[in-house]
Symmetry: C2
Subunit: 244 residues, 2 copies
DNA sequence: TAGGATTTGTGCGTATGTATT
DNA sequence: TAATACATACGCACAAATCCT
């Protein structure tokens, strides 16, 4: 268990005073830990997750672990098969082709529905992400790239006060964010990092003048281009490997 | 247990040959039964659902029942409180105000993303719904109205082949469909039935000429007007009761 | 084909939390 | 304030399903 995981599962009591985390809080923390491990490919597609092993790691019985795995299954991150096991799903380009049109529309909606004005602290957090992105250019790190992407996603999603919209956006993001990491070998890493950095700067500019609807449009444009790059490079990779 | 419920839980084996329903199938059926009971107000908002009673009714232990209730909680249909119980949620106008803008956009998207051509059988099913709606005008029945609405919703949602979009649309529908029933006392029932009937006829016309994008726009317009009527009549009801 | 190993699904007793008396 | 009643959360043992030998 990494330091970050430990911080997540211990945490501060949220709803209760000094009285230890409630069942709901324990479950949510465990869910986020496993979800993040899947989305950073620490648990790669195809890996089998053992209920007993997870139960042992987090010092609980299988019951709460099963609760979390069931939730992850409804969100498409794992598949549970009776008698076989629980395996991490492997999102493909076909899944992506269904989810991306939705993500495009939802990104634009985020800037329109119940826009939440950004504070200086909000902008500073994004500026810190740009710094981390710069460091990434010199020392490529898949997991750090995944965490940066996720952190930026949450910053952009927060511009809308519409909770159902945020939940749906998150769900679709976690369903497909892994595919970029999977395709990194065939993608141009420098191009991806540069594109990500310029997206953050564009969003920052729009936020600085308070134009949240523009943030949505910028985000939409970059999601679209990201998808196009993936399709393009995948096709090129297939051609290079000789497959039709 | 009603006859319809019995048919649902027995059903035909879907994935297995004569080998009895799998755990997944049993769970899905139980989920749909309870979900439908909630959405037809057979389980009204505020009602407490006992795990033991449900377990006894469906001849299983509390474990699979808890699995289903947990799923219903993530979808916002019930709230589970440790030590208190599981109660059916009561969606209010504020929730509606957040969900409806989304439903509007998604309705339009349904006609655009992966449109699925309608067959004669598809149209006949909708025509049958119109007939049932006509019968409803003479003998108002809240549950029948709820079931008609739901059946029509599924027919319209089926025009898109985009599975994530359909899932999201369903989720938002089940979160908010009950509120129309709750407001029926202050709404003009005749107006609601007439509006519903004309929506089905409009959709039917668009489907007959194969214009699925128009179906989306029609649906969007009617969802918008439905929302406006609810806000309007709720305000009038408040004014009549003397509350500011 | 049969049987054992391993996995998830289920049943049930107990722990924990909440409200009421 | 303490005790009681009753709800969900949890842990564990066993059943059912699958794979491999």
């Amino acid at each position: 268990m990494s330091f970050l995981d430990a911080a997540l599962i211990e945490g501060q009591p949220e709803a209760s005073e000094r009285a230890g985390p409630s069942a709901r809080e324990r479950s949510d923390r465990l869910y986020k830990i496993i979800r993040d491990r899947i989305c950073t490919l620490e648990y790669p597609p195809g890996m089998r997750l053992s209920e007993e092993e997870l139960a042992a790691e987090f010092k609980v019985s299988r019951t709460p672990v099963r609760r979390v795995l069931t939730r992850l299954e409804t969100e498409g991150l794992v598949e549970i098969h009776h008698g076989i096991g629980t395996i991490v799903t492997d999102p493909d380009l076909d899944t992506l082709a269904q989810v991306y049109p939705l993500r495009l529309e939802l990104a634009a909606l985020l800037g329109k529905l119940s826009p939440q004005p950004r504070t200086g602290a909000d902008l500073d957090r994004i500026r810190a992400l740009v710094q981390r992105c710069d460091a990434l250019a010199f020392a490529p790190d898949q997991q750090e790239f995944a965490r940066l992407n996720m952190a930026f996603f949450f910053e952009v999603t927060a511009i809308s006060g519409n909770q159902p919209l945020r939940e749906i956006s998150e769900r679709l993001y976690f369903q497909t964010s892994r595919i970029v990491l999977r395709l990194l070998p065939v993608l141009n890493l420098g191009e991806e990092i540069a594109s990500f950095r310029s997206e953050m700067l564009d969003v920052l500019k729009a936020m600085e003048i308070g134009d949240l609807e523009a943030v949505g449009h910028i985000r939409r444009a970059h999601i679209s281009m990201s998808f196009t790059r993936m399709v393009l490079h995948s096709r090129q990779a297939r051609e290079r490997s000789g497959r039709p």
